[in-house]
Symmetry: C2
Subunit: 512 residues, 2 copies
Amino acid sequence: MLMGKEEKGKPRDREVREEDNIGITALKSDFPEWYSQVVLKSGMADYAPTAGCMIIRPYGYAMWEGIQEFFNSLIKKTGHMNAYFPLFIPESFLLRESEHFEGFTPEVAWIHAEGPVEYCCRKCSGKVGKDDIKCKNCGADLEGSGRQIRMECPVGSERYALRPTSETIMYDSYSKWIRSWRDLPVLINQWCNVVRWETKATKLFLRTREFLWQEGHTAHADKDGADREVLAILEFYRQVIEDLLAIPVITGKKSENEKFPGALYTTTLESLMPDGKALQMGTSHNLGQNFAKAFGIMFRDRDEKEKHVWQTSWGISTRLLGAVVMAHGDNKGLVLPPRLAPVQVVIVPILFSGSKGKVAREAERIRKKLSGSFRTEVDMREGYSPGWKFNDWEMRGVPVRLEIGPRDLAGKQVVAVRRDSGKKSIIRTGSLEKQLGLMFSDIQKGLYMKAKKRMSDNTVEVKSFDGFMKQIEKKKMVRAAFCGEPACEESIKEKTAATNRVIPLRSGTKYV
Amino acid sequence: MLMGKEEKGKPRDREVREEDNIGITALKSDFPEWYSQVVLKSGMADYAPTAGCMIIRPYGYAMWEGIQEFFNSLIKKTGHMNAYFPLFIPESFLLRESEHFEGFTPEVAWIHAEGPVEYCCRKCSGKVGKDDIKCKNCGADLEGSGRQIRMECPVGSERYALRPTSETIMYDSYSKWIRSWRDLPVLINQWCNVVRWETKATKLFLRTREFLWQEGHTAHADKDGADREVLAILEFYRQVIEDLLAIPVITGKKSENEKFPGALYTTTLESLMPDGKALQMGTSHNLGQNFAKAFGIMFRDRDEKEKHVWQTSWGISTRLLGAVVMAHGDNKGLVLPPRLAPVQVVIVPILFSGSKGKVAREAERIRKKLSGSFRTEVDMREGYSPGWKFNDWEMRGVPVRLEIGPRDLAGKQVVAVRRDSGKKSIIRTGSLEKQLGLMFSDIQKGLYMKAKKRMSDNTVEVKSFDGFMKQIEKKKMVRAAFCGEPACEESIKEKTAATNRVIPLRSGTKYV
C-alpha cells in the first residue's frame, strides 16, 4: 500500500489494489468463459454454495424487478391478478395428467416430510432420544449440535414435489373455485421460485436447479377465449423482450415433439444468441381441456350445461437476464438497454485537489436534477482513479457516463460517453435532460437493430436436406419446410443435433 | 332455478342460488371460527391440499403487494437493494452458529438430493432400470406413470435444509464479497418463501409450513452502525404497521429468552389482538459479531486492521395480513384500511330495466374519473341483486361503497356508504373525489384509533405477582417490572402461560 503525499493536480488513484483489477479478461469469441466472467464481475449473480444453484445479486435482481414491473403493468391492465400457491405439490397431483408427469418427473426434487420426527446422532447416525445427552451407540456427546433431526417417511405416506411448475396444484383449486360461467375467465399469475433438479453443469441464469419466474394460469369458457389469451400473452412477452430488453424474437408455434407436456399446443418466442445457439425466451400454452378433465374443472354455462373449462399457462424466467448479457455484451463487459438498466446514467467527477469541493457539489447538483427523470448515480468512491471507475461502470453496462472536471464546470458542460459506441460528446448542462432522453432512445433502438441484423445475417433458408446440414454445421438458424411428423423431426435431431425451434407465426395465417 | 319474466322496475335478482349465500355465519366473539370464515369467504386465502400450507388468493396477495410496495420504497430510499439467495441451505452452514442451529432445526424440512438418481416401481418400490418396461420384482407395468424417481442419499453426502431463514447462506457470500471498509455497509433484502415444518394445526396467515416474507441482512463496520440500522428498520416497520395497516404496536426489546437464536439482541413490534393474544408483528435483530465470527466475515478498516463486521437481520411476513383481519374485522367480515385496500371504492349501480343503460353508463363514467386517484371498481355482475352485492363487498371489507340509481342520476349525486360505521351520506358527483379523499383519511385514522383504544383498555399495569396472575387470566396485556433473569422468566411462563412480549422502548432511554 502506497500512502504517499497527494500530488497537486493529479487524480487520486493511490489506493488501487491488485485485487481491484476487475476487468473482463476473456474475449466474447471465447463465449462460455466470457459469459461467466461478465455475469460474475458485473455483480449480476454469483455461484451458490448449494451445487447447481445461483445467487441473484442486487444488480441482477434490480433488472428482474424491472421485468416484473413492466410485465405486471401489462397483465394487470388486462384483468390478471397475482397470487401465491404452495411450493409443495402432492405426488398424486402430478400423476393425474400423465403426459405432464412424464415430462417433468426426471427433474423433480422430492421431499419426504410427513413421518414422525426422529432424532439421530450426528456422528454415527444412530437413532437417539430427543433428550438424550450421550449416544447409546457410539458414545458421542449429543448436546449443542451433536443431535440432528430426521424425518422418517412411513410406508404409504405421500411425497411432495418441490414445484417444477404449478399447473397441478393450481388446477386442484380451480376445480373448487369455478362453478359458473360468471366465474370465468380466471386470470391468475404468480411470481415464484421453481425447482428442476438439473444434472448438467450450472450456467448462471440459463441452467440452475432453482430459478425465479412468473407462471400465468387462466381458465376460459371456450377454446376461442383460451386461444386469444395465448396470443395476447405472447404479444406481452414480445413487448418485454423486444421493447424492454431490446432482443429480437421469432414468435410462433412449437412442433408436437417440442410442445409443453400436457398442452394442446405451445407458442414460443425464440432468439438467436451470438454463439449460434437458439434460446427459448418464453412460452405461452393452450392446455386445451386436458387438465380440466384430469382435475374436474367444470362450470355451468349460460345454457345450463356443465362443461370443462379451456386453459392456458405461460411463463418467462430469470433466464431472460442471461439473454441480455449474451445479446448485447462486448469485450468490455455488459451493455444494458437503457429501459432495463438499474443505473441509466453515472456521473464520475474528476477530482483534482484544488477544485474538488466545487466539482463534487456540481456532480451532486446534476445527480439531483436528473434523478427525477433517470436512474442516476454519482460515483464518489474514495481511493479509485477516474480511469478505474470508467472501466468499472463500462463493465457493468451503464448506458451513459457523464464526466465532469474543473474545465467542464467552468464551461457549464459535461462530457457524455455512450457505452454502446464509446462515442464522446460534450453537452451543455442546461440541455442535459433533453439530450440524455434522446441518447437513451437512440441506444435502445440501436441495440435492438444490431441484434436484429445479427439474427437475420445468421438465418438462412434452405430447400434441400444437404443444404440444411451444411448450414446447421455453420451454426446458422435455418428456415426450412417441415412435414410436421414427430418421427421425421426425431430423425433430423439425431442426424444433425438441430432442434426444431419454432413454426413461425405469419400474419394472415391461421395457425391453430 | 327460477327463470321467470323480468318484472319492469324490479332489480334483477332472479338468479341468486343457494350456494351464493356467502355471508359470515359466526360472530367475532366466536373468534377462531369467525377468523377462518372471514379469511376464506373474503377470498383472501384458502387451505392448500398440501397439509399445513395455504394458498394466498389474488385478493389477499394484492394486500401483500401493497405492503411490498410501501416497504420497498422506504428501504430503497435508504440505499437497500433486493436480491435472491437459494432456497437450499447446506446443513453444514446451519451448524456453524450453534445457537441459531438449535433454535431452528426442530422445524427444518430437509431434502436429500445429492445422490445418484434411481428409479423404482410405483407398486412395490423395488429398484428398477430407467428403461425397464416391467418390474422384475412384482411384474407391474412400468410405462406411463408406473415408474418413479428415487434420489438416494449416499453416506456422507450433505443434506439441504429448505430455508427457515437465510442468515447462514447469505453470510457465506458476505464473507466472500466484503473485503474493505469501502464495501460497507452491505444493505441487502430479499422477498421470498420460507419453510418451517410446523406440527401444530394450520392457521391461515398465522401458522403455515410455508409463508412469504422479506428478510433484510446488513453488515456494518461497527456496532453503532448496526444499532442505528436496527432502529431505522424498526421505525419503517412501525410505519408499515401503524400507518398502512392501521394497527397500533408497542415497540421495544425482547428478553434474553425470547430473542432470535444467534442474536445479540432483538427488537420487536407487538400488538394485542381482540382475542386477548399478543401478536409479534415484526422483528429487527442486532446479530452482533456472532455470525461474522462463525462465517469469517472480515474487512480491512481505514486503520489497516482486519475486523469482523457487525450485522443485523429483520423481517415481516404474510402474518401481517392475518393481523389486519383480526384487528379491524367485524361480524359482517373484513374491514380494510383504505391505504391497504385492493379495492378502495366500489360502485354498485342499481339497475332497473327502464333506466339500466343510463345508470350503467354513469357508473362507468364515475369509475373512470375516480380511477386516477383511487382503486375503483364497478360491480356489473349479472344475476345478483344490489343487496347481495352490498353484502359481498362488505364482507370483503371495501372501505366505501357508492350506490347509484335512477334518482341519483337525476340529482347528480351518489349514495356513499362507509364500511367502518355503515354511515350513509349523499355526495354531489362534482365533489366526489374530494369527499372520498377526506372519507378515506377519516376511516384510516378511525380504524387506528379504535384499535389503539382497545389495546390500551386491555393493558394494565401491576405491582404484584398476584395482580399479574389475575390480569393474565382475564386475557389482559400486563405491564410489569421484570428483573431480567431468564430463569425467572421461565418460571413465570410455566406458572401463568404468559410470555414476555416486549421490554418497551421509551424515548430518552438508552436500551442497548
